[in-house]
């Protein structure tokens, strides 16, 4: 609860602050708090990823992008009301959607009765990998992970093509 309150405070600060450098630093703090939330929810794999990617690499990349532009926000050209209504509406719909969700960690939910418990029972005898997350990601859901790696590959190629000027010598 404390962590979520802090995240809410940071989000409001991100909206209020107009210096983009401060916004990047605030986003880094946001990611660290999000990683702490994941750790509290017993998801260390996700927490590790969030801390490394969200707080580490993406902060550096955003700073690199800031270096290429100006560090203060331009005043918006159009009124903010339509985006605010759209964002508020989607937020309200998401909250409405969570009302039907089962309580956190209940034993009789589909997550804990179906394929989840099958993974827990079968992954060690079949793969001898104690970390079920690794076994699921790399073996049972190998196709998904291959897709993710391909996404990273395509993203890297896309960024390189965007940023490298045409005709520039590759050194």
């Amino acid at each position: 609860m404390v962590l979520l309150t802090l995240i809410a405070v940071i989000t409001i600060a991100v909206i209020r602050v107009h210096n983009l450098f401060a916004v990047v630093v605030l986003f880094s703090a946001y990611s660290f708090l999000m990683a702490s939330v994941m750790l509290v929810l017993d998801a260390p794999d996700v927490a590790l990823t969030e801390a490394a990617v969200g707080a580490g690499i993406s902060t550096v990349l955003l700073l690199g992008a800031l270096h290429l532009t100006r560090t203060s926000e331009t005043p918006p050209r159009f009124s903010n009301w339509l985006p605010l209504v759209v964002a508020g509406g989607i937020g309200a719909m998401l909250i409405w959607g969570t009302w039907e969700m089962p309580g956190f960690g209940l034993a009789d939910t589909p997550v804990n009765t179906g394929v989840g418990s099958a993974y827990l029972e079968r992954s060690y005898p079949e793969t001898h990998v104690p970390n079920v997350v690794t076994a699921v990601l790399a073996s049972y859901r190998g196709y998904d992970t291959l897709g993710e790696v391909t996404v990273v590959f395509v993203a890297a190629i896309g960024v390189l093509m965007l940023l490298r000027r045409p005709g520039e010598k590759e050194d």
Binding site: I57, V133, A138, Y143, V149, T150, A156
Partner: protein
């Protein structure tokens, strides 16, 4: 090189440990949280830190841009190649059972190989994107 001496000394001290920790997250991923993706990002973070503190040229002597860009598709090839290898050995794509005489060993080493592919691609992609930003800002 008019940077703070504290930053330079501390980062010099830390970078080996960051690299080792990345390898630990990679190869201990079977037992503890972590895997190729996280390890790749941590590894890339070490190189990025080196580039920030000691300059882009110094970092590019350690990790040449050609090597980094070669790593990006190489990891995908390792991953997909593992799948093709298991197909050649007579199982379904990305089914690691036949890679070694015992199915359990096959799974174990198959996961290790695949995670290594993830590591290579993620490290390459992150460093390549950082190089692209940094090189662009320089001119």
């Amino acid at each position: 090189m008019r940077l703070d001496v504290v930053l330079r000394v501390i980062s010099k001290l830390f970078i080996p440990f960051i690299l080792i920790f990345a390898l630990y997250v990679q190869f201990h991923g079977h037992y503890s949280p972590g895997g190729g993706f996280q390890a790749g990002v941590i590894f890339a973070a070490a190189i990025v830190l080196y580039a920030i503190i000691f300059g882009l040229d110094a970092a590019q002597r350690v990790m040449p841009p050609r090597l980094v860009e070669f790593m990006v598709p190489l990891g995908v090839l390792i991953f997909a190649g593992t799948g093709v290898a298991s197909m050649i050995l007579g199982a379904a794509y990305l089914d690691y059972d036949p890679l070694l005489p015992y199915a359990v060993d096959g799974q174990y080493w198959g996961i290790l190989l695949v995670e290594f592919g993830v590591l290579v691609t993620v490290t390459g992609a992150m460093i390549a994107i950082f190089y692209a930003f940094a090189a662009r800002g320089r001119t």
